[in-house]
Amino acid sequence: MDRGRLTPVGWAALLLGALIMVAPIVWTLLLSLKHNGELVGHSGAALHGPYTLENYAAIFGNSSTLRWLLNSAIVALGTTAGVLVLASLASYGFARLEFPLRRTLFVIVLLGLAVPSQAVILPQHQLFAWLHLHNSYPGLILPGLIAPFSVFFMTTYMRGIPRELDEAAMLDGASRFTVFWKVILPLTAPAQSTLAVFTFLGSWNDYWWPLISATHSDMYTLTVGLAAAQMNYAQTSGLGYLMAQAVFASLPIFVVYIAFQKQIVRAMAGTAVR
């Protein structure tokens, strides 16, 4: 949009902001490139060389970080896929179909918007214990699947799709499911991407649930794993390695974001189109 170029002051503020955003990350990067021993008590040593990749080599050499990364990816992708499937199905039902209790059920879902996950996390923990779901991927994924926001969001979006399309498809002999699958679902692509980004980030950054559900280190997600590794002590003697873990853990998702930045914004914009 060509409306109003930024003033020099605006640019300066923007660049300063960018610097504030970036400085801690650059600092982390520098720390991760230093020999651990050099950093004991002297984190300032990271400002100058020599730099080394040994901390990254160590991650690949022998460490749980890769495993945690895999877990995080599985949980975040699984949650995202699950949310999209469940929310799409349910939203189609709520947006388009008539069935007994439809309004009641939808109101129940809307009420769920106000339930903080913390309000139910303790009984959830009990429940998952009874179901023997702790320390498993389903155990980590399931609580993320029931976000009422996803249904609210998708239903709202689907209601914006002209009903004529459903009707045309029904006249074209499509079954309810075909209408959903071949006509409505493709049209929700922007909403799907937006929801996917939200869900993925939320799941990737979730802390408390994996903290109490994934208690075996081979089931840790990155968040919990790094918290376990990040003892006070490690901050002193293994700082470089710790930071390398942090960088390594953030890299994949960052790369994905950079690669899809445009699509993500466009998808979000598309979410409100029409």
């Binding site: 002209p162 004529e164 399309l165 009707e167 045309a168 498809a169 029904m170 006249l171 074209d172 002999g173 499509a174 079954s175 075909t178 071949k182 006509v183 493709p186 049209l187 692509a189």
Partner: protein, 365 residues
Amino acid sequence: MATLELSNIRKAYGGTPVLDDVSLSVAEREFIAFLGPSGSGKSTLLRIIAGLETLDAGEVRLGGERIDPLPPGRRGVAMVFQHYALYPHMSVRENMAFGLRNARVPREEIEARVAEAARVLEIEAQLDKKPAQMSGGQRQRVAIGRAIVKQPRLFLLDEPLSNLDAALRMRTRVELAQLRQRVDAAFIMVTHDQAEAMTLADRIVVMNDRRIQQVGAPMEIYSRPANTFVARFVGSPAMTLAPAALSDGEGPFARVRLASGAEVETRVPRAGLPAGDGLLLGLRPEMVSVTAPGAGTADAEVMLLERLGERTLVYARLAGGQDVTAEDKGDSPLRTGDRIGLRLDGAAAHLFGPDGAGHHAEAAR
């Protein structure tokens, strides 16, 4: 033999009736227009035929087979939607093929039918485009094409021309007329545009207030409106309806007196007309001509002139306050405020009873 048979259809939306005991029979290859104001139930009726709405009572039969319990896709009908309802994510080809695929028509046949429809509609070059890349007129053709390929027994058109600009509307009207010549199916078109209905339809079904008001050929609807609603709704500008009382008299035809005192001799048989006042005299503009003051049936004042080129519409007010629309020649010298005389052509006038039912001049038959 009737293709489509609607019997005693009733429909209500939660207590509010929208269709009340509607019956209709459509002949083979007939083109029917549902004409009526919005809220008259015409769209609901169309959607009931399509299967997009359920009915509360009654039956829909197509080719003798009862179709109202069937899902829309199995009724052998095709529909062209007001906003086309093209699938935005599919190409034109896919849009047209979608219904056939669902019906498991063999692939070669699908291709053949799509190609034929595209040829007829002259959209062959657009087959791989998405709807968003096309103009409104092209989309309209795709929507028609999507209906054609299904080879339905009945086409349902929901206000098909309302989204087009005036020029395109005229062209498409012609094309629709040509289309019906080519295909072996009946057509039902919902419209609120009487010109569209008059030009395209074999018969017009005028609907209002949950009911069919009149069914008939276009000219019959125009010249013998069944009731005041039809009289007012069909024809532009609308027919003047002036309160009138039956004058005493002996002749076979009714003579009525307007509030202004003017008397009009009609050709409507006196027999069958209710006695006393409470009648309405119906006059189309072409039945009212302008004369010098005092020279006509009644005197009036010009309120407004609408110059249409080849003729001029004169909106005038009689002494009793009754508004009348008259017609004058294109280069009429009249000006607003002029006193004029009006000659009411009683021979072509209509009379409507207190129940609204129309009584028409015998000669018009």
